[in-house]
């Protein structure tokens, strides 16, 4: 077994072992559980780092498989690991973000009664995501895809004793499952057509000169895209993501940066060869993601819950990644995925510091609790917002620029204009968040709050601050890796220099600057109204604040239909099936009642019946004794 394969197996085995050990034996030992989980992720991070060094060389692919399910007249389904620059880089991102979240959670979740369970679930999440990333077989991808869904269900509903997280977890699970139906169908069709589902084989079969008919490729790509839409919270299936904010904040950081939602984008990047052979689906994806991006950005403009703002920004940024992929550039889309993983984890973790401090998700509440006293949070929030807005030395600028450049070459003007508009809105809502959170104005009882927390959370705050500061530093570093990504992921494609100033970057930068300036006018400057231009239009504000009425639409259509269906099923169950059982029982009881009349208890009646029967018997015997 070669070194990279062994490293890939170790990277997957470590979190799995940690998860099993924690959930079975360490439920009562929170400290040990956290230590074990962090140790396992450190091992994974080391293995992933080795993988990146060994495999992330242009045009390197390592495929190691073991036959898992033999198929008649075919090579069979082989599970294994597929290592190439894409999967190894993603594995490193997953391991790094999960480790940061685990360290951070030492402070954030301290004292929670489910502390050990929490770390067990985090390890499960890491294992599922690594399995998905390194899978060599599309069916294997699907298995881990569902495990990722399970882990996020468990973590979103971590505080399941409260109704809102439990409902949010169900919503996340069911809505992503809608898309997964398509994914499953697509995988089954591929296995039927190709005999196996090994990813390089599928891509070769779909590509030019492959065995798949163009129509078939389009169909399969559309089905796979359904799964992507559900998982990456795009198009009509995104409303679960804002609700998923009911989970613990570090979970949101994990969910939004490197795992769960990134899984969908990663799948498109992984299967890009197949998607590229389906131009109609790619055109649809381009439009869908552009519309999702701008829709989510408008929703973020009116949210008052800091985590909801970040959730909408995730949807919007995921749409950017998909735009890059749909425009044909794996490097651009994946580059944005990596930088976004960094700065979105940073934003959530710094938001978590404020939430931990103020015990509220509402930005106006946080502003009233001396947000300035949380140094690491302020640094993290500022760096993350600058990256999100796409301001020049920060990571978001470079990757967004790569996406926009890829679109500029391959997409139409209308799409490009919408994408630029979204960039401006992004800057506006991210700095609306910054100003609303940090420039509170009226501080009430500051001394009391600061004192109470300084004494209680001394060590916890260090654990929370360290990952935030590391990630904040990373936002300045990751952006310069664009060239590295371009060389490794899209070898041969023309590359866009990191600082290739032209009309495009200037437009994006000036739009970002305009957005920030508008946010400053409305929220930042002293004496600002602190209500945005959208919030002054009640109809528009309500429209944006309720997910463009999508939840209401689902409530009126899908949910109502499902409820009617379950009512019919209930009627069938209670009236028809239970009725048959109850009727049988009632008939038995009634028959017994009728027959019990015979047992009158009157001796003389028994005697007369006896005599009558004897007489009849005698008459019958005397008549010859034959049956009639």
């Amino acid at each position: 077994m070669s070194g990279p394969v062994l490293a890939a197996l170790v990277a997957q085995a470590a979190p799995l072992a940690a998860c099993v050990v924690i959930l079975f034996w360490l439920r009562q030992r929170p400290g040990l559980a956290a230590g074990l989980a962090i140790l396992s992720l450190t091992v994974t991070l080391g293995a992933a780092g080795y993988l990146v060094a060994a495999v992330a060389v242009p045009n390197t692919t390592v495929l190691a498989t073991a036959n898992w399910l033999p198929v008649a007249e075919g090579p069979g389904l082989a599970f294994g690991v597929l290592l190439d620059p894409l999967s190894t880089t993603m594995a490193l991102v997953v391991a790094a973000v999960t480790l940061a979240v685990m360290v951070y959670s030492l402070g954030y979740m301290a004292g929670d009664p489910g502390f050990a369970r929490y770390y067990g679930f985090l390890a499960l999440f890491a294992w599922a995501m690594l399995g998905l990333v390194l899978a060599s077989n599309l069916l294997q991808t699907l298995v881990f895809w569902e495990l990722v869904g399970l882990a996020s269900f468990l973590l979103i509903g971590f505080w399941f004793e409260r109704p809102a997280p439990a409902a949010a977890a169900r919503k996340a699970f069911i809505m992503t499952r809608v898309g997964d139906v398509g994914f499953l169908l697509g995988v089954l069709l591929l296995i039927r057509a190709a005999g196996n589902a090994t990813i390089p084989d599928l891509i070769a079969a779909a590509g030019p000169g492959g065995s798949f008919a163009p129509g078939f490729t389009e169909l399969v790509a559309a089905l796979l895209l359904m799964g992507v839409i559900g998982k990456s919270a795009q198009g009509p299936l995104f409303t679960w993501l804002p609700d998923a904010m009911e989970g613990p904040t570090p979970v949101s950081a994990l969910l939004h940066s490197a795992t769960m939602v990134a899984a969908g984008v990663f799948l498109v990047a992984r299967m890009h060869g197949l998607f590229a052979a389906a131009p109609e689906v790619m055109r649809f994806l381009l439009w869908l993601s552009v519309i999702t991006a701008i829709a989510a950005a408008t929703m973020a403009m009116v949210a008052n819950d800091i985590k909801r703002v970040l959730a909408y920004s995730s949807i919007s940024q995921l749409a950017y990644m998909l735009m890059g992929l749909a425009a044909g550039s794996v490097a651009a889309g994946f580059f944005h995925l990596v930088t976004h993983a960094g700065f979105k984890a940073l934003l959530f973790l710094s938001a978590g510091i404020f939430i931990h401090h103020a015990h509220s998700n509402d930005m106006r509440e946080i502003a009233g609790h001396q947000p300035g006293s949380q140094r690491a949070g302020v640094i993290g929030l500022l760096a993350g917002s600058l990256a999100l807005a796409g301001v020049i030395p920060f990571a978001g600028y470079f990757s967004k620029e790569a996406v926009l450049a890829a679109m500029g070459e391959h997409a139409g003007t209308a799409v490009l204009a919408l994408a630029y508009a979204t960039a401006g809105l992004t800057a506006y809502y991210s700095f609306r968040m910054v100003f609303l959170t940090l420039r509170g104005g009226s501080a009430h009882s500051p001394a009391h709050d600061a004192g109470a927390h300084a004494s209680g959370h001394g060590q916890g705050e260090t654990a929370m601050a360290a990952p935030v500061l590391v990630l904040a530093a990373l936002t300045l570093v990751l952006g310069w890796l664009g060239h590295w990504f371009a060389v490794r992921l899209s070898p041969g494609a023309e590359e866009h220099g990191a600082l290739a100033f032209g009309a495009g970057p200037l437009t994006a930068l000036s739009l970002a600057a305009a957005g920030i300036a508008l946010a400053w006018l409305e929220y930042g400057r002293s004496g600002a109204p602190r209500t945005g231009f959208v919030e002054r239009m009640p109809a528009l504000r309500d429209f944006f604040a309720t997910n463009w009425y999508l939840d209401r639409l689902y409530g009126a259509t899908v949910v109502r239909l499902a409820n009617a269906l379950s009512r019919a099923a209930r009627w069938n169950d209670q009236t028809v099936l239970d009725g048959a059982g109850d009727g049988f029982g009632a008939a038995t009881v009634g028959g017994g009642r009728l027959l019990a009349r015979l047992q009158s208890g009157y001796v003389q009646m028994y005697v007369s019946v006896l005599v009558a029967i004897m007489a009849a018997l005698a008459a019958w015997l005397m008549g010859g004794g034959r049956l009639p």
């Binding site: 047992q599 208890g601 009157y602 001796v603 003389q604 005697v607 007369s608 005599v611």
Partner: protein, 102 residues
């Protein structure tokens, strides 16, 4: 000479009277008396069918003597049961003694 049909007719009449009494009377004692009548009818049948058909007469007589002994024992047991029932229920009317019904 006593002819067989006449004796059997008497026995049948006696059995019918006994059956009527068994079904008609409500007192346990009266029912026991009627039952004794039916037993007597059967005894007559046995004697008549053994002696008047030219078989060994002593066999029938022995059997009937055993019947009488059994009947005496039965009466003793039945009457003591009736006393016990009367003590428990203060009644020996079978219409009122109908607790064992379904």
């Amino acid at each position: 000479m006593v002819n067989l049909p006449a004796v059997l007719g008497v026995a049948t009449a006696l059995f019918g009277i006994g059956l009527y009494g068994l079904l008609q009377r409500r007192s346990l004692v009266a029912m026991l008396i009627a039952l004794e009548l039916m037993l007597a009818a059967i005894s007559i049948n046995v004697i008549a069918l053994t002696t008047l058909t030219g078989q060994d007469p002593s066999l029938g007589q022995v059997v009937v003597l055993i019947f009488v002994g059994v009947a005496a024992a039965e009466v003793a047991i039945a009457l003591s049961l009736f006393v016990a029932i009367h003590r428990a229920a203060h009644d020996i009317d079978v219409e009122h003694l109908s607790e064992l019904k379904g």
